[in-house]
Amino acid sequence: MISNGPLIGLIRYGSGNLRSLENALHRLNVPTVVSDDPAKLGSVEKLIFPGVGEARSAMERLTDAGLLSWLRSTTQPFLGICLGMQLLFDRSTERETDCLGVLPGTITRFSSGKVPHMGWNTVEPTGDDPLWSGLPPNAYFYFVHSYFAPLGDFTIGRTEYGQGFSSAVRHGSRWGVQFHPEKSGADGLKLLRNFVERC
């Protein structure tokens, strides 16, 4: 198959399962490289940072892999997914973990309703962003998480579950989404395409 588009790096750390993301990018016919090597990841055009497991062990694995300072400083366009978005914040109350500190604020656990927040929920874009290009205003995306990010200047998408939280964030060339675009049908694929082509 002939691939086109920019080379996308998938950051692998620990034993995370990247199969769904690889399948989704394959559908978009986008070339990908999966790696935990900062030198190799530094040479791709854009990065996707998936989340695996819980905050503390994820931060430990990033530290062990020597990815931490590179992740904090890289200026490559970057999309964090699920825990990959949460790790952008200062800290998480999940096992009291210091995170990357790219965004201000603390990740906390849902205190009401069934936890995890699991299933399809709407995302309300809170401003224009290339990530939302061509998507309906209250598109459904698939969520599965027990901890959530606060609302702030960085919020570009808002979702309600007992309370409002940031379901999508942006800081310069870094984007983050709490939901799983790779599991969110046609709209999820559209969002990934937007990141690849427009961000």
Binding site: V52, G53, K114, W120, S146, L189
Partner: protein
């Protein structure tokens, strides 16, 4: 607003979808990859694939099927049936499944739940509980519903969550395949007892049954097989009925 999930279930034996009544009497209902893709296109919020093959060849066929389903659909899916150890779970997730449901294995060794939750996270661990009414309470059954245990369903549900299950798939064996409606008392009792989502299973015959499970039964999601496989109802029709009753669904 979080929507309620409609989940078609595919029972797979030696690479084909089958569906029986009260766990026996299997009929052929089609190619699983094709069916999975059709359901995802038609609005299924998730899928469940249960391997009911009894042989080793059947099991390896199932794993390659999981890989093909992951390529064919972009909605989450759970796999279950015969999963006995952490290695089986890692293989299923690596093949592209999002969650794994555990049934007999955790009844034999409940600590497997802790092992799994630590290794892959609770969000990927589903406790599947098959129950049969016994007087005023419900007994847990094991080995594909062939053997009774001494466990009470509500107590066991609570324990699976304490040990790390992120979701419960609750099947009423009394209702399974009957199309008489879900066991609402059972659903309510378990749903109120645990902090994680509960999937109702066993007994769906029409859209009103699904609505009742989500309202009176307080289930977070509903699983159904035969009403979808034999074309009695489409997922869109079911969601239309639920929406008319004010139940939030993704459309």
């Amino acid at each position: 607003m979080l929507t309620r999930r409609i989940i078609p279930c595919l029972d797979v034996k030696n690479g084909r979808t089958v569906k029986g009544t009260q766990f026996v009497d299997l009929r052929d209902a089609g190619d699983p990859v094709e069916l999975a893709a059709q359901y995802a296109e038609g609005g299924a919020d998730e899928l469940v694939l249960l391997d009911i093959s009894a042989t080793l060849e059947g099991r390896s066929t199932f794993l390659s099927l999981v890989t093909r389903v992951a390529e064919a659909v972009m909605v989450p899916f759970t796999v279950g049936g015969g999963i006995a150890a952490i290695d089986d779970i890692l293989r299923a997730l690596d093949a592209g499944a999002d969650k794994v449901s555990l049934n007999s294995a955790i009844l034999r060794d409940p600590s497997l739940l802790e092992v799994c939750a630590r290794r892959v996270g609770s969000q990927s661990v589903v406790a599947a509980i098959d129950v049969r009414r016994s007087g005023a309470s419900w007994n847990v059954w094991t080995r594909s519903g062939t053997t009774a245990t001494a466990r009470d369903a509500v107590t066991w549900a609570r324990e699976t969550v304490e040990r790390g299950a992120g979701e419960i798939l609750l099947t009423s064996m009394d209702r399974d395949g009957t199309n008489d409606g879900y066991d609402l008392d059972l659903l309510r009792s378990v749903s109120d007892a645990v902090s994680v989502p509960v999937i109702a299973s066993g007994g769906a015959g029409n859209a009103d049954h699904l609505a009742a499970a989500l309202t009176q039964g307080r289930a977070d999601a509903v699983l159904a097989a035969s009403i979808f496989h034999y074309g009695r109802l489409t997922i869109a029709q079911v969601k239309h009925t639920l929406a008319e009753k004010g139940i939030p669904v993704r459309r």
